[in-house]
């Protein structure tokens, strides 16, 4: 799924990286615990989260993730957006909750990641 499709499906707005709207992601992961993200996630995955602190961007950076969706209408502070721009990471913001946002993407064909043979 392309980033621009995710934006449309979630009625989201770009906070950073709109020039990368054509990037493709293969799966999604919804989580507010950064070490769980670090444990399970590969690149080409979009992270959906309600956290908006700099550590979310750092986590994405370590994993080479190229997109993050902030849910529940949360907007990160400017320094977080600046950091994402510097790291060339796409930031989207949606008013949907984590559950609904994940559900919308899943029902439109974007699968979860695989953990121990089970789709998560």
């Amino acid at each position: 799924m392309l980033i621009k499709d995710i934006k449309e499906l979630l009625d989201a707005e770009f906070l950073a990286g709109y020039e990368y709207a054509e990037r493709e992601v293969n799966a999604a992961f919804g989580c507010d615990l950064m070490s769980d993200v670090l444990a399970f996630v590969d690149d080409k995955v979009v992270l959906l989260t309600g956290l908006t602190n700099p550590q979310v961007i750092r986590t994405a950076e370590m994993l080479d993730l190229n997109a993050i969706v902030f849910v529940r209408g949360k907007i990160p502070p400017k320094e977080v957006i600046d950091l994402a721009n510097e790291m060339k990471i796409v930031l989207l913001a949606t008013n949907h909750t984590l559950y609904t946002a994940c559900g919308i993407l899943f029902s439109n064909g974007l699968k979860g990641i695989t953990i121990g043979g089970v789709e998560g």
Partner: protein
């Protein structure tokens, strides 16, 4: 950062401050950049970045502050995270997935899954931890290139 080339390879050293959540991750970010400039394999870079990042965050959250030192050698990357206490009471327990003493405030920041030490072990080829309550904690990790 202190970087010099000699027979031990390249040495990178970073001071990590306690409770400094805005700068937490900068050391690992920098290490990642250096590895990329050296043209190291991307999977090795990712595993190194995750391991140093988890170690860096643990120093910020759980310790009085410390240092992260990385040696980049022709055949391997060695990482040493050392802090000045307060140490871990039961290292075996701390190594279990899901064990965490993180406060609610820390959990709100997205940490405290109890996955950091298990992640470091999982993503590195050699993992060694030494800690006593009241003393310092040292984590040594190696990834073969």
């Amino acid at each position: 950062m202190d970087s010099n080339k000699n027979n031990i390879g390249i040495k990178l050293e970073y001071e990590v401050k306690k409770d400094d959540f805005t700068r937490a991750g900068e050391a690992s970010s920098n290490i990642k950049k250096v590895l990329r400039q050296l043209g190291i394999d991307s999977d090795v870079i990712r595993r190194t970045a995750i391991a140093t990042y988890e170690a860096e965050i643990n120093i910020v959250i759980h310790s009085e502050g410390g240092t992260i030192t990385v040696y980049i050698k022709p055949d391997r990357i060695e990482m040493i995270a050392e802090d000045s206490g307060p140490g871990i009471e039961d290292v075996r327990l701390a190594m279990q997935e899901g064990f965490s003493t993180a406060s609610n405030k820390i959990r709100e920041l997205g940490f405290g899954a109890g996955m950091g030490l298990p992640n470091m072990k999982k993503y590195t080829d050699e993992f060694y931890i030494d800690s006593q309550k009241g003393g310092s904690t040292t984590v040594k990790m190696t990834i073969y290139i």
